[in-house]
């Protein structure tokens, strides 16, 4: 299923609540899955679970009223531990932490996906189930060993495992910040209590997992959230305090410049996101109106820093799909009616025309293609075909967001480029042939009869003359080509060369419907 490289476990932690920790996690998961990663998200904030709210439109049971979760798995693990403590020979097999996972119903254009493990089945006895779990006893019974095995199991199955930790210094926050992860993101707001809190916590984590003790270092990423620009001077003071105090924890490979690190790991306070838990891929319009300074772009930058991959991007979402998802987020509509289920099916598979008569499947296919194009380092074969370019309407062009518009421009430039390339090549051949003919005629004229000797002369002269003619004409056609502009992204020498011989202008993938998801 996956490459052999083990996945990474990342815990999102905050000393106090309300820092936007779950939001950062959910968005990070979305970005990763959009770029083809397998992602598991676990809501470990058992006392105040909330991660599922960000995934609400993509869950069949959005309120988790009949979905078991992490605490239910832990009870099962405790039973296993007791059983094997009583009868060690029974060899009861331990449950993995992903026993209760559910896949989010959203089709990413890449092979990526998000699995979600909720905190536990909500309802009558949820709080009792959490509060009666005795973590100390669980560890006495060998809980640490069971978790170590579970950890191994998770990293084998997933590229990324993201854990939403409990705040403060409770038992559970210790387990998921110290024992399990290899990376911890500590979210803090710009006040002393929060900053001092994460400082102490990071010290604590580092001393527990210092490289000299158990050989596994842990990467720490402090992250400032809820930045409000209203009180500029006071913000600057707090910012300086935080950056000085937490400087020692900035990950080594990122420390080329502290300022760059901090600028990338700041998330602003935005009232829109304070009222409802919405993923920024849907909260911020991806259309042309999209500002560069948005929650979405901040989440992108944050994700790029953590994953150390500047290619990560929030995927474009079709406006029609975006609106549909937004209604499922909104208050009051819990998506429990069967109509909502039917609706969600149409998101997955429907061949639907919107009000403007646009073929949504076609448009989704284009977005998918754009995602692949970027994910594969701008491979030419994912540019749009001329048929697709023809089918696009002006309103669709307007609706597309930043990334898609860029892709569109490149597709158009790509085709114009290939067309010119072929014209220039043809001109090149013609000029060469003309030069050769001219030489031949000049020879005939200069030497006169008998004509039979010309062929010998010609054979001797042809290579130097031909080469000179070729070079000369190439310079001319090269000049023509340089007038028509640089090749677009993804078009290298090899791609250009192949195009010349196949004389094809359009992209290799004829249209989005024939698009393979596995390049």
């Amino acid at each position: 299923m996956r490459a052999n490289e083990p996945g990474r476990i990342v815990t999102f932690y905050s000393y106090k609540g309300g820092t936007g920790r779950s939001m950062a996690l959910a968005n990070f998961a979305w970005i990763l899955a959009a770029s083809g990663k397998s992602v598991l998200t676990i809501d470990w904030d058992l006392e105040a679970p909330g991660l599922h709210r960000y995934f609400r439109p993509f869950l069949i049971d959005p309120d988790l009223l009949e979905t078991d979760g992490l605490i239910d798995t832990f009870w099962k693990l405790a039973g296993t531990a007791l059983e094997s403590a009583q009868r060690p020979e029974s060899g009861a097999d331990a449950a993995g932490l992903d026993q209760t996972k559910r896949r989010l119903s959203w089709k990413f254009p890449t092979d990526g996906y998000i699995d979600f493990v909720g905190a536990g089945r909500q309802g009558a006895t949820y709080s009792e189930r959490v509060n009666t779990f005795d973590w100390k006893r669980f560890y006495d019974l060998g809980g640490a060993g069971l978790l170590a095995r579970a950890k191994e199991d998770l990293t084998r199955q997933y590229d990324w495992v993201l854990i939403d930790s409990r705040t403060g210094v409770s038992d559970t926050s210790g387990i998921c910040t110290m024992q399990l992860p290899d990376t911890v993101i500590t979210c803090f707001t710009m006040n002393r209590q929060s900053i001092d809190g994460v400082h102490a916590i990071m010290q604590s984590i580092r001393s527990f997992r210092s490289p000299t003790v158990d050989g596994s270092a842990i990467a720490l990423f402090p992250m400032a959230t809820r930045i409000e620009n209203a009180e500029k001077e006071r913000l600057e003071v707090a910012r300086r305090y935080a950056r000085d105090k937490l400087a020692e924890f900035i990950p080594a490979q990122q420390a080329s410049s502290d300022k760059i690190y901090w600028d990338r790991m700041e998330v602003s306070y935005r009232p829109y996101y304070a009222f409802e838990e919405i993923l920024s891929a849907f909260g911020d319009a991806t259309g042309s109106a999209r500002a560069t300074d948005s929650m979405l772009s901040q989440m992108e930058v944050m994700g790029q820093s953590i994953a150390a991959d500047d290619g990560l991007r929030m995927p474009e979402v079709l406006e029609q799909d975006r609106q549909q998802v937004l209604t499922k987020y909104s208050f009051g509509k819990s998506g429990k009616s069967s109509a909502a289920v039917t609706e969600s099916r149409s998101v997955d598979t429907g061949h639907v025309l919107d009000d403007g008569g646009n073929d949504l499947v076609f448009l989704r296919g284009l977005l998918a293609k754009e995602q692949l194009w970027r994910k594969n380092n701008f491979a030419t074969r994912y540019l749009m075909s001329s048929r697709e370019l023809d089918l696009l309407t002006d309103s669709e062009r307007k609706q597309f967001g930043r990334g898609m518009a860029y892709y569109l421009a490149n597709s158009e430039r790509g085709q114009a480029y290939f067309r010119r390339l072929i014209v220039a090549f043809a001109a090149d051949i013609l000029i060469t042939a003309a030069a050769l003919l001219a030489t031949f005629l000049a020879l005939m004229d200069a030497l006169g009869p008998p004509f039979s000797s010309y062929f010998l002369q010609l054979l001797i002269l042809l290579p130097p003359v031909g080469l000179a003619a070729w070079l000369g004409s190439s310079i001319i056609s090269g000049a023509i080509l340089s007038l028509v502009g640089n090749p677009p992204y993804g078009v290298g020498f090899r791609a250009s060369f192949m195009r010349l011989f196949t004389c094809r202008v359009a992209s290799d993938t004829q249209d989005s419907e024939a698009l393979s998801e596995k390049p």
């Binding site: 007791l82 560890y139 110290m178």
Partner: protein, 437 residues
């Protein structure tokens, strides 16, 4: 018209309505989609599944359901404890079964020639257990149904998926990838590859019998029993209580129970469910207990002390102690005519048990007599839970009781694995200052 892989989706409507139960709806839709994909059918042009939805009521709809039952190729039947108790589900099953030409019965009372009925195990496997006997709440005549998709065995992912499904039920499989896709495909293939049945003629829904009550042996007569040797019962799995996940409930009552023949060491007598005609109240209580168990992922055993009304606390207490030592959860359910008659010998016995520190568990009593006003109030003795009479409230109360006992059992456990590590503890502000950072 060419034959199509149509199927009737039979379920207890209450199962879908009681909770949000989006999973059931989702499963139905995904199954229909998958079958259509396999057969190359465009669902916008024709539907191949029929489900009884609350939104489509009325005469026309009834007729449509009846037609579907008489014509559909497969009968997908969603097994839940409630399903076997619904007369409507029984009638649907009866109408469909009557179409099977090869219908017969074996010497164990299980129907043969019922390949077109496809059972879906919806709940966790413990929901189908009765005491130590696995799958025993599935009616006898359906025992020959293969309740797991067949596993040719050369694909580990498929084997895992089928095992997960058997343990956790389809409810827990819906959208749990990769299991779900594998299971959907197995079931859809099963439907696609079934033979068509002859169209039903005589039976109408109005005149149909309830298949769950119907005397199938009499239907075929003594000569109807299949001459072929009866295959072994699909499951003779013996289930024993496990720590933290099993509960033994002792019913202290003047009523008499049918005692089960199974010999097990942990209870004096395991008992059958009460008779619904004579003791509907008790039947309901037992069903609520079992449902609470399913909701908390627990396996419930019904037991009665010997003698039924203990003369002294010794023998019952010994049982409770033994089970508590094995970390099995225990409940004592004291009937209203035994408790709370203070001064009565039986009531004194229960009070002694309630005060004993040697076992971990709770005593459940009905809200009658002394405790009729006591629900949710503090004036009851410790360890005593007064059960509300309304079913849903009662289920919540039992669930809370189960969770509470489980918590106590875990906390009271004394076992320690040698060399076990402690819980890693995060240190807050100031923790490192004392020793100089």
């Amino acid at each position: 018209m060419a034959s199509q892989p149509t199927f009737f989706f039979s379920h207890a409507r209450q199962d879908r309505e009681r909770s949000l139960n989006n999973y059931l709806e989702k499963f139905y839709q995904d199954l229909e989609t998958r079958v259509a994909e396999l057969e190359g059918i465009d669902l916008r042009e024709m539907s191949i599944g029929t489900i009884d939805r609350e939104i489509s009521q009325g005469q026309d709809w009834d007729r449509q359901l009846a037609t579907a039952l008489k014509k559909n190729r497969a009968f997908v039947s969603v097994f839940t404890p409630l399903y076997f108790k619904r007369a409507n589900c029984g009638k649907e099953l009866y109408v469909f079964l009557m179409r099977s030409a090869g219908l017969g019965i074996d010497t164990n009372g299980a129907l043969t020639g019922v390949d077109n009925v496809i059972p879906i195990r919806w709940e966790i496997k413990e929901a189908y257990f009765k005491n130590t006997e696995a799958n025993s709440i599935v009616p006898k005549f359906l025992r020959l149904l293969n309740d797991r998709p067949s596993d040719p065995g050369n694909d580990q992912a498929r084997t895992d998926a089928i095992k997960f499904y058997y343990d956790r039920g389809m409810r827990n499989c819906v959208t749990a990838e990769p299991h779900y896709s594998i299971l959907l495909e197995r079931i859809a293939l099963l439907i696609r590859d079934l033979q068509d049945l002859p169209e039903g003629a005589g039976e109408t829904f109005a005149t149909a019998a309830n298949a769950f009550d119907y005397d199938w042996t009499a239907h075929f007569g003594p000569q109807g029993a299949s001459p072929a040797p009866a295959p072994a019962q699909p499951s003779s799995e013996q289930v024993v209580p496990k720590p933290l996940s099993s509960t033994v409930a002792f019913y202290v009552t003047r009523r008499s129970y049918a005692v089960e023949q199974t010999q097990v060491g942990f209870a004096d007598r395991l008992i059958e469910d009460a008779d619904p005609t004579t003791e509907p109240g008790l039947v309901k209580l037992m069903a609520d207990l079992r449902e609470a168990g399913v909701l908390e992922n627990m396996h419930l055993f019904h037991a009665a002390p010997e003698p039924a009304i203990p003369q002294d606390a010794v023998s019952l207490l010994a049982r409770l102690k033994m089970l508590s030592a094995a970390k099995v959860l225990t409940l004592v359910i004291a009937d209203s005519d035994v408790w709370p008659g203070s001064g009565d010998a039986a009531a004194n016995v229960i009070e002694t048990i309630a005060r004993s520190p040697d076992w971990t568990g709770l005593i459940l009593v009905s809200p009658v007599g002394r405790y009729s006003q006591s629900i949710g109030q503090g004036n009851v003795p410790p360890r005593l839970v007064v059960l509300p009479q309304q079913s849903d409230l009662r289920i919540s109360a039992i669930r809370r009781a189960l969770v509470e006992i489980r918590g106590r059992v875990l906390s009271a456990s004394a076992e320690t694995l040698p060399g076990a590590e402690g819980v890693p503890v995060l240190r807050g502000v100031g923790a490192t200052r004392r020793n100089g950072g």
